[in-house]
Symmetry: C2
Subunit: 431 residues, 2 copies
């Protein structure tokens, strides 16, 4: 379908056309899409007249070092851009790019030669807790089977404000956090000691970026408006320090246990690219209880995004790391949808802004092999997670690389996000 060559397993076929930001040896950060093995410089395309009728100043917008200005445009502008890109890259499309070798060379940069950047200046970052299986697992571990789900959980998408400054791009290494650890698991009154986190974990999540012209403080979004304010989706790892969290989180929620780093994948995949993969959620419907009217979604649904977490662990007598896929999950396992999360976020009047990042919460399925965190996979350290080389893990060790993978399987193509990867460095490594 495209004149650019790539294989059926490529993350970036012509059906995807995600948005991101890259820089290269010659040029500073600018807006881009990806196709096959290339990052495509949208500013250069625009300078050469490829985007004449999009209805906005494309050269200025795409010349920015973040996508915020583009995100602030209405959804129609995002769609027009994607449609024009599809035309430029289609085998039977417009020759304006394909037919100009110099422009092709200037605009298409091999992905391995570019440096990716955070796609947006994130104004605020919020993380939800919207997988019923995850919330149930955590509930059973900490409160027992009978009180697993809290009374509010089925009535609203529980969430908390996170730390925008600590969101980093895939590839950024993270130092094992240090902080306060409870002395005795049984008796919190014994107080705490200072030291490196011993229960370091990942959380398998999908994040989405907010966009469009949003209401000011005081005016909530309606569920009908929500879809047009979702710019697109990324993979997300909400790294978590379980021992620090257990001690600090009462009564105001997670803090230092979550603000040492949250990793996202570099390419933002649009709802339009995901549209062919709309599917029912694994809950199928929300009837027990029915959501309140402001949260009730006409077309309650999810996307069939296949998710997996690979651990790359150091192995004895080799400098290569050993890869183990330790869990496989799916975005279908979300009870509350991104639209519901966005609407609930604004219900009291909170003003949402282009560039805000909202995380789904850990995505766990019903089977043990589909759990989205090591806390659940090792059942709070009760058993070991086997690795391919015969070793095992309960939580992350120094030198481990955690990579979240995700894709939609189309007919002869896949829609991907790029890697969402980070290495755990020893405590103090970045001091």
């Amino acid at each position: 379908r495209s004149w650019v060559e790539y294989d059926a397993k490529c993350d970036f076929p012509i059906e995807n056309l995600p948005f991101g930001v890259f820089s290269c040896a010659k040029r500073g950060p600018r807006c881009a899409t990806a196709i096959g093995p290339y990052a495509v410089d949208l500013a250069v395309l625009s300078e050469h007249g490829a985007f004449k009728d999009l209805g906005f100043d494309a050269t200025k917008t795409f010349g920015q070092p973040t996508l915020n200005a583009f995100m602030a445009l209405p959804r129609s502008a995002w769609r027009a851009t994607r449609a024009r890109l599809a035309e430029l890259f289609a085998a039977d499309g417009d020759d304006a790019l394909r037919g100009r070798a110099t422009l092709r060379d200037a605009a298409l940069r091999p992905l391995e030669e570019v440096k990716m950047h955070l796609p947006a200046k994130i104004g605020d970052y919020t993380d939800f807790y919207s997988s019923r299986e995850h919330a149930t697992n955590v509930g059973i571990m900490f409160r027992g089977k009978d009180n697993a789900l809290q009374p509010n959980w089925l009535h609203l998408p529980v969430g908390y404000h996170g730390r925008a400054s600590s969101v980093v791009l895939s590839g950024t290494p993270l130092a094992r956090p240090r902080g306060q650890l409870q002395k005795s698991r049984e008796d919190p009154w014994q107080g705490s000691v200072y030291g490196p986190c011993k229960l370091l974990d990942f959380e398998l999540e999908i994040g989405f970026f907010v966009g469009g012209q949003l209401p000011p403080l005081g005016r909530p979004l309606s569920i009908q408006e929500a879809e047009e304010h979702i710019f697109g989706y990324v993979l997300m790892n909400d790294w978590s320090a379980r021992d620090i969290q257990a001690w600090e989180y009462v009564p105001l929620g997670p803090f230092g246990a979550k603000n040492f780093g949250t990793t996202i994948s570099p390419w933002i995949v649009s709802p339009d690219a995901l549209e062919p993969f709309v599917c029912s959620t694994s809950a199928e419907k929300q009837t027990d209880p029915e959501p309140l009217p402001y949260l009730k979604e006409e077309n309650y649904s999810s996307y069939d995004i296949k998710l997996a977490v690979d651990l790359h662990t150091p192995s004895q007598g080799s400098s290569e790391k050993v890869v183990t896929t330790i869990t496989e999950s799916n975005f279908r396992h979300m009870y509350w949808t991104p639209r519901q999360q966005l609407v609930h976020h604004s219900v009291t009047g909170c003003n949402m802004q282009p560039g805000d990042l909202l995380g789904s919460g850990t995505i766990s399925g019903t089977e043990q092999r589909s759990f989205g965190s090591m806390l659940e996979l090792s059942w709070r350290g009760a058993h070991e997670i086997p690795l391919s080389d015969g070793q095992a893990r309960k939580f992350l060790q120094d030198g481990d690389v955690c990579n979240i993978r995700g894709y939609c399987q189309g007919d002869g193509y896949q829609i991907g996000f790029g890697d969402c990867s980070g290495e755990v460095l020893p405590a103090g490594a970045l001091d």
Copy 2:
């Protein structure tokens, strides 16, 4: 001491020289200080050569619509600027401003003729919970006397990430938030209804802005470094919807109950202006328990900032509102200091940035008349708070204006912050 005239009750004597951002009919937002009845345009002063030897590009820095660029400079730059301003405004100082009528007229704008703006683009906003009396009061109400303070409270400054986009300047009206309210206070399993908050409250707080050259993600701040990263202080009202909060906050903390608006005063008062008011905290020392070494402060202390909350309530048969001072507190009643809050915020490696806002948490004293919220003043609605005109309140009603006042009393002068005020509009008023 200054050639500018003002009286002994003025918020902005020459001993203060706070920083803020204003615009006026002639000029867009730019950086300012305040003296007596004037906002002073620092960009205009700089253009006319008043800031030659400050070691940074003052015209560019102060011409910005926020203080972020100035905040990003080291503390020595903030101090040099303040020292230079003191020289320019001192009765026996440099004649460079006093002696030039045109420059004086251009730079000094009557406060009542200018519009104040948020002083910074707030990257992240965090709120703490560091008054022992407040935490104890809330604990007694919700968990009983024996479990009032949670086991972690005396070991770390408990805090949570808030919503930066919802921070507004004094004078901004807020619509009463709507959201989910628990059907039965006794039985949460009955679920929730949607409606306007019935238990709307203020929280009397002091916020501080972070500044200086801060370590990257992964490297914590030390307690010795903390003071040089506190740019200055503002009054803060962390408006709170108690009924929404009670239902939503388990287990991840406050969310929609806090993100509909947080009001700050316009002028940022420097630690240097507050230095003469250093005092012991009302706890006097932290020995039971001693903080862990990373939190232990050599000079454990606070500032003697007198605080009060005025309610301006609609009265029958009059368009004027009636004023009642419903509480008087003091910044001394903080157990954890701003330095400790900042250091704890970064302990796991969280990267702090110039322009971040950190809130103290509700500041309550030991006496009932010094409690920092209506939740405490009315003891969760158990009794009424009398107003001057014979009416009473348990929580805020539509049309009420809540104004936080604060000042330090010097010898013949006061150090103030300006108002921290907001009116409660009916639910839906901003739809």
